[in-house]
Subunit: 335 residues, 2 copies
């Protein structure tokens, strides 16, 4: 009886082992961490870099706390063309607030926004834009602004793709973020965009918590109001996290030099230099928008989202350049 | 035969279960996470708070990403009396650099420092102090400054305790930091001290990585120098992370409202208000220095490290006040 029992146990064991082995084989086959990337040079370069810095005992090994990766947002993680999403937000906010500001009908730059007269708006230049930004981004508490952004981002739609902006994120980059995190990296966003415009949704969309978002900001002021602590948003620029501001923002917020940086324009040049040209060479990557059909195509030959100096620097410094059309199997996530 | 086998299996099982139970009982007895705290009210309040916010399904439950705890540094995590450690650093740096600056012998505020004339130095007031700070904290790269701090903190000794400053940290607070982290909290330092003066050693000493340190800062500038990216430290104040600056710094760096705040002076008042008086009440704690024998005793009745308004606010808002002498079994870590 015991013999029969043992045979049965052994049979169960063999079947179990086989099941486990089969599972492992299937997992290996399925477990491409970057399935939306074609098997071209950029994917190979990413995987080689990650394997190198995570291989214990290797000369290139980087301890986990030092595995800092920084990502630009507009054009690197989500669509920025033909208009930064934050600008769409600004225009919508002016329209939403217009009823309480009858004077805007006759005052620039508000008049141009209300009349959807983009030509006049462009002619008003940076000064007009800053006024619009300050008007729509200040005069409320930090929490009130967070609610405004959260409500807007849930309902606004991109005019070409007819989708929420948070669905116009790049599937290959989502996979890259997850792959890096699975390998002990801490992933940060370092964007020229407003820090408080991004924080309400980056955790849900990218898995990047608010404390790992670096961006441009306006000044805030702490006050006790009727016994309640409030942070009021003031119409004054605090920090511009673009170009040479990016390494400054990285140093202020993170306090360590990243070992990997991902960008898509000249605004990311200094961040890429800071990351890759120190004593320990880091990994640099540029997303080149080459796919007018599935997304957009633009670079040094277009005015928008200028990629010029950074593209030259990529060649000199051996940064990886992603040719969106050739290297990405899929652009956006499936529903 | 099977019966005998089953009996044996059952016996083994019973013995195993007993062993496991015994282990659990022993672990519970040994596993006081705050052994350097006496069993007085503050310890009970801390444990009750942590159990409340981590109990799933309870109305007070806080999801892990929202478990943000902020700690002042000087006087809360390490000794600040009779002189902030960063000021000792400043004075030592002036002395170390004096040979390259012969003019300092006859120029204030340097003359006073070189002659250890603290009375004159005090009379020179804030202007003199700012000049000393800027002279010793700028004019080098971020990395050079990091090396200077690392070297100094390894060799400097507190004059009373004859120990490195990093050994004059409070053992009960080290246990508290670890206890919170073990319960899914992310622990941040939010200090009036220089952010780059703390970051080189906070990870080793407190388990707080550089990206979780918020502090005062000077401006930095990114430059490419002979092909190498550098961040130069400029003699300009960027941000003062004290008093009403603390909620501002918390919002900028963390972007979420903390649910627990720990301080020891009026400089922490606004941080405590911001943390505890919002819609969801957070936990506030003040370390009251009452132990002149083992450490120091000072509060509203002394000029140094003033604890006055915040002590009144603690009573009104039911913040926990630690009486160092009565509530802490041990002040500093054993060697």
């Amino acid at each position: 009886m015991l013999a029969a029992y043992l045979v049965k146990v052994a049979r169960v064991a063999v079947v179990s082992i086989a099941t486990v082995l089969l599972g492992t084989v299937q997992a290996l086959a399925q477990n491409d961490p970057l399935p939306s990337w074609n098997d071209t040079a950029p994917k190979a370069a990413i995987v080689a870099f990650v394997e190198k810095v995570t291989r214990e005992g290797s000369t290139d090994f980087v301890a986990e706390p030092e595995r800092i990766a920084v990502f630009d947002n507009d054009g690197t993680l989500w669509v920025e063309h033909p208009m930064y999403t934050q600008l769409a937000f600004v225009l919508d906010r002016v329209k939403a607030e217009a009823a309480s500001h009858p004077e805007w009908k006759d005052t620039q730059p508000f008049k141009a926004v209300l009349e959807s007269d983009m030509k006049t708006l462009a002619a008003l230049g940076e000064k007009g834009l800053v006024e619009l930004l300050m008007t729509t981004h200040s005069g409320m508490t930090a929490e009130e602004f967070q609610t405004i952004v959260t409500d807007w981002i849930a309902t606004a739609r991109d005019p070409r793709f007819k989708k929420p902006y948070t669905e116009l994120v790049y599937q290959p980059m989502l996979e890259l973020l997850a792959y890096l995190r699975a390998n002990g990296f801490k992933t940060f966003i370092v964007s020229g965009g407003g820090i408080e415009f991004m924080r309400p949704w980056t955790e849900k969309v990218y898995g990047v918590p608010p404390e790992q978002v670096v961006g441009s900001s306006i000044k805030t002021q702490f006050e006790m109001k009727d016994g309640a602590p409030t942070l009021m948003r003031l119409p004054q620029v605090n920090f511009i996290d673009d170009k040479s501001g990016k390494p400054v923002g990285i140093n202020e917020h993170i306090g360590r030099r990243p070992i990997a940086a991902f960008g898509n324009s000249d605004g990311d040049l200094e961040m890429l230099q800071w990351t890759t040209l120190g004593e320990k060479p880091g990994f640099g990557l540029i997303v080149h928008h080459t796919d007018a059909e599935r997304e957009y195509a633009y670079d040094r030959n277009t005015e928008f989202g200028r990629l010029d100096t950074a593209l030259d620097a990529a060649a000199v410094n051996q940064w990886t350049v992603v040719d969106m059309k050739a290297d990405w199997k899929q652009i956006f996530p499936e529903k």
